[in-house]
């Protein structure tokens, strides 16, 4: 393990993955601060130790889902992970997300994640045009509530990195695309609900989920893809039994 310099004052002992699939952890000492997120730690290393350290972020407030990494073995958003609030752990170990190809250092290629989103039929198909009036939708209807429960996904791929089925079955669509699909199945305006069920059933779809619940456990915005996927399982079951949707 290489050692890349030290700093004065109270310091954090940080190990960061450098390289791609092949690489090594490099150790850094980063000044500890009263308010410091994991993203700040990475930024400090880039600004003061490794000018070409690769990492990704954009919004810095938890809405864009760009900054996710593996922090001490767990997938997390880093812009809103306060170092002091991490379970006591020394050193602080940072790696790219699991289950995705690596570009360099802490950056993964998210294309496989979004390609699955598309494969799951994760796209609204209109049944009206901009010239039609807006539909009336009761906010407390069951279907609308099912949409609301899953719609605020920031596509950070934390769940994708957390789910072991994805590691075991590379063709699996994964929690976030299935979660999006479930919101569409419940969206009464959506023109391709049957198609979504077709696309999300099967060994690569909802039936591959074993309710490991790592997705729901680590989703930074508190969504529960486990519940959405269960919804898809039910819907496809009712369909198989000849009934309509759940």
């Amino acid at each position: 393990m290489a050692d890349a310099g030290t700093a004065d004052g109270p310091v954090l002992d940080v190990r960061i993955w450098r390289g791609t699939e092949k690489g090594a952890f490099v150790r850094y000492e980063v000044p500890a601060r009263a308010n410091q997120t994991v993203l700040d730690v990475v930024t400090w290393v880039q600004r003061h130790r490794e000018p070409d350290l690769a990492y990704r972020f954009a919004c810095r407030v938890g809405v864009c889902g760009s900054c996710a990494m593996t922090v001490n073995g767990r997938p997390r958003w880093t812009c809103r992970t306060h170092v002091k609030r991490l379970p006591a752990h020394r050193p602080l170990v940072l790696e790219p997300l699991r289950n995705l190809p690596r570009i360099r250092d802490l950056v993964c290629d998210l294309e496989p994640f979004f390609a699955r989103w598309e494969r799951a039929g994760g796209r609204f198909v209109p049944t009206a045009t901009r010239r039609d009036p807006l539909p009336r939708i009761a906010p407390d209807s069951t279907a609308r509530r099912a949409v609301d429960a899953g719609i605020e996904c920031i596509n950070c791929a934390v769940c994708h990195a957390a789910c072991d089925v994805l590691a075991w079955r590379p063709e699996y669509l994964g929690p976030a695309p299935l979660n999006r699909a479930w919101t569409l199945v419940n969206d009464i305006r959506h023109g391709a609900r049957e198609e979504v069920l077709d696309r999300t059933s099967g060994d690569a779809g909802c039936h591959a989920c074993h309710s490991q619940a790592s997705c729901s456990e680590f989703c930074p915005v508190g969504l529960a893809p486990t519940a959405a996927i269960a919804g898809l399982k039910r819907a496809s079951l009712w369909r198989l039994l000849g009934g309509s949707r759940a």
């Binding site: 997120t37 070409d52 690769a54 810095r60 407030v61 938890g62 864009c64 609030r85 807006l134 009761a138």
Partner: protein, 584 residues
Amino acid sequence: MRVERLDTDMLVLGAGGAGLFAALHARRAAPEFEVTVVVKGLLGKCGCTRMVQGGYNVALAPGDSVERHFMDTIVGGKWLPRQDLAWRLVEGAVERVHELENELGCFFDRRPDGTLDFKAFAGQSFDRTVHKGDLTGIEIINRLMEQVRAAGVCRLEEHRAVALLPAADGSGIAGVLLIDMREGVYRLVRARAVLLATGGGPTMYRYHTPSGDKSCDGMAMALRAGLPLRDMEMVQFHPTGLLAGPETRMTGTVLEEGLRGAGGHLLNGAGERFMLAWDPAGERATRDVVARAIYAEMRAGRTSPMGGVFLEMAHLGPEEVARRFPGMVRRCADCGFDLAGGRVEVVPTAHYMMGGVEFEPDGRTAIPGLFAAGEDCGGVHGANRLGGNGVANSTVFGGIAGDSMAAFLEREGGALRDPDPAALEAAIARCERPFGRPAGDLGELRERLWRVMWEEVGIIRNATGLARAADELARLAADLRDLGLAGGGRRFNLTWHNWLDLDSLLTVSRVIARAALAREDSRGAHYREDFPDSGDPAASRFTRLRLVGEEISVETVPVEFSILRPGESLIEEEAGAPPAAEAT
């Protein structure tokens, strides 16, 4: 230097509300042409549209009207907006919101009876802001991203546009030079039409709200391509940015407006409320007034430990605060602050640039083949932007620009042009500059830029300060030119991109300072303590700035009151008396 070449029909720079809408419309209007989107980050995962919290202004509520929305926009913009643009905005918003809901699948919040919910945004005469909770931007961008991917648009993600290249024969735009950030190589993309939609972003101020990928690249590229920019002195500050201490990226991020609206108190370092001395509405006063008041407290040295003021909500009952503002409370808690029960340190924070590239209502610019939309553009908001008009602006004009580009190609579809080799060479040379030079301290330079913009070109300005700023910015520009990078290759080299960000920011900062010096009155977001009067609205002039060589030229141009003159109103029963709209 390796330059890879490729061609496309329509090239869209930026993937915010403006860029994505343009791509979608262009693709639908002219399916026979290829559309390529270039984005500095990942498609759908960067830019400010995604960060929109409050919502989207549209005159759809019963009793509201586009005329009313128009009046609020003009009066809020202190009679500086270009009126045909403002009209296009309010009219277009109605269509765009229907499109977002019915065709893209956005879900805006409903009232119990199933109709759209409109919430109040400070400074408007009607409740007209549609929203999805307080994460409206995520809903809009996620749905757009899905549609754009499905529409068969080519994507160049983590590609940075660095120069708009004119055609060798001077007939218009030929293409754009990009850096593939992952591979570290240059790409020259020739295109028949190009859209500039990189979305401004005042990140040259110490405290700022926008996404980290925003560094005014588009405006800098436009200036270098010879385009005029207008209203650049108009930089909007949001009064309550989080102050979280040094070297944390959380600092500057927005604590939402609603906290003050709900009755939150602002306290200075001594723990005293000070807003009532500035405005009878106290903390509920408009953004510019509150930002100025906070800044004045800070200048007087009555600050909180980290140099801002306190926002206190506890008197409303911590449970009540946690119930009404769960997102904000959780965000503060994540970084160690107790918003519901304690005091949180806040500071005004640079939020939005009203100014930008001059453009026509159909998206055209002065360069044939080059279109512009969104926050890169100036003229829609004048001296101040209404909360909720930002995302309306980018989505309305983005869509229009997409349609216009398609029409432009079908009409005059011409051949691909070759770029001027000298311009290409100069652009590459500018990007290559830091390589091979002795490494310097980029961080120190950034701190200096942040400081001078915040202190001299910020919330309260005066002639001497602006002159000092001009000097310091010139020094900074020279220092940046001499500053090299410490080792590292070109692949995913963030520090190289930080260097390029600073280059853009410096160019645009100089223009802001120059425009601020030229405007000798105080209006909307622009406040001159040496010229506190707002001047006669009927004699309103806007600033127009260009880069000529390395020099900035400025002129002030009379505003054309093409729809109505100050004092008039489009609203019958309030004839002559515009609604009490205040910009926020």
